[in-house]
Amino acid sequence: MFRNQYDTDVTTWSPAGRLFQVEYAMEAVKQGSAAIGLRSKTHIVLGCVNKANSELSSHQKKIFKVDDHIGVAIAGLTADGRVLSRYMRNECINYSFTYESPLPVGRLVVQLADKAQVCTQRSWKRPYGVGLLVAGLDESGAHLYYNCPSGNYFEYQAFAIGSRSQAAKTYLERRFENFADSSWDDLVKDALMAIRETLQGETLKSSICTVAVVGVGEPFHILDQETVQQMIDAFEVVGEQEGSAAEPDAAAGQEAAAEQGAAAADQGGSTDECVAPMDI
């Protein structure tokens, strides 16, 4: 194919002005299992889907605490994510040590982005194959950022990355205008519903997802399984009513037999892909 000629090296441009290795790295993020983030004025919720290689193995850790006020969810090569989390933790510790105050989130994501950019301009390196959703609270409020392997970063009200993230993004796009004033419960519920969208029909259970929260007066912590399961149970009961209330589209006007059915029809779901080899 045409693009194979210029994709051997990260330091080779294509005639169209693209760096294919960087784009391939972003592809690796798309292959990872989903991670979502959303924020209100005072809290940020991160969620991710846990996929284990087999029944026998434990699932990969995709949400990391970086500091009391910052956490990160990753999608892509989890090994790269682990290394970057370690870097972020060190940066936070060093900043706290020097300035006796928490590292502002915006500063951390810039450092992370610069670190990623370096790998796009060295012939002996490769780009990090992981996308990071950085959730953090600082003096200027609650923030959610997305860091790309390309070295770009963006701030979001809500976002989803990884495989089948488009389904979650569509759900979030419908609802994001209400997030700013959402309560803690509503925010977590929205996160769980967004996660459910990426499951394409599979039942949402606390064993296959992880949810973490950081907010004003609430240091970053991962919610335990029982709390998550309780929240799932709470909205599954009212799920059918919520399913139709949430969708302004006329298409889902009737109550479908299962709210998952309605969700799947709404998304125009893609075929079920098997989990990528570099399990994420």
């Binding site: 605490k65 370690r86 933790r89 060190n90 510790i93 060093n94 706290s96 040590f97």
Partner: protein
């Protein structure tokens, strides 16, 4: 030609005394709150006690700038440990970390005389005592600082524990009850304040038990 001498010292001694006593299920760590330099008092309300981990508390006398730097180092290293191990450091682990941190600066030492106290993994009280460069030992009780020469013999008299070199190995922790140990600490500091000019003002007592950490204060002589 005589050797050139430095006309300033990087160190200062801010005085004060620290004590720690280990019990069967508790640990008492205490220090006075006077910070001085030379014959002057800088403040009467400075805490020499620092909580390093859930069940681990350190009291340090000496040069407080070095003490503060040491405390920050340990806190940062503890955070890294928590990230890696998903749990807090236990007291013996922190004791080793403190020793290593002190020896790391063997050739420009922290002018800090420390006692570390807390509960070990089994919930029993433990006290570790250090010199400035990290030599340490697990003991049943200890004191450091300007009043230690006055305090230590008194503790030896009251808490006499058998030599750790004897067989069978005897427990170094005192059979005293928590309230008795706290009383002993108060007595000891009241006595030390009488004769040590650098010890006085207020006594801060921290008690570590399975239920958590409790803090208590007592007034001392202000002269």
């Amino acid at each position: 030609m005589t050797k050139q001498q430095a006309n300033w010292s990087p160190y200062d001694n801010n005085g004060g005394s620290c004590v720690a006593i280990a019990g069967a299920d508790y640990c008492v760590i205490a220090a006075d709150t006077r910070m001085s330099t030379g014959y002057n008092i800088l403040t009467r309300e400075y805490s020499k006690i620092c909580k390093l981990a859930d069940k681990c508390v350190m009291a340090s006398s000496g040069f407080q700038a070095d003490v503060k730097a040491l405390q920050k180092q340990l806190a940062a290293r503890h955070l890294i440990y928590q990230h890696q191990h998903n749990k807090q450091m236990n007291c013996p682990a922190m004791a080793q970390l403190l020793s290593n941190t002190l020896y790391y600066k063997r050739f420009f030492p922290y002018y800090s005389f420390n006692v570390l106290g807390g509960l070990d993994n089994e919930g029993k009280g433990c006290v570790f005592t250090y010199d400035a460069v990290g030599s340490y030992e697990k003991v049943g009780y200890s004191s450091q600082g300007s009043g230690s020469t006055l305090i230590m013999p008194f503790l030896d008299n009251q808490l006499k524990s058998p030599s750790p070199l004897l067989l069978p190995v005897q427990d170094a922790v005192t059979p005293l009850v928590e309230a008795e140990a706290v009383n002993l600490v108060k007595t000891v500091f009241a006595s030390a304040s009488e004769r040590d000019i650098y010890t006085g003002d207020k006594l801060e007592i921290v008690v570590v038990t399975a239920d958590g950490i409790r803090r208590e204060y007592m007034e001392l002589r202000k002269d």
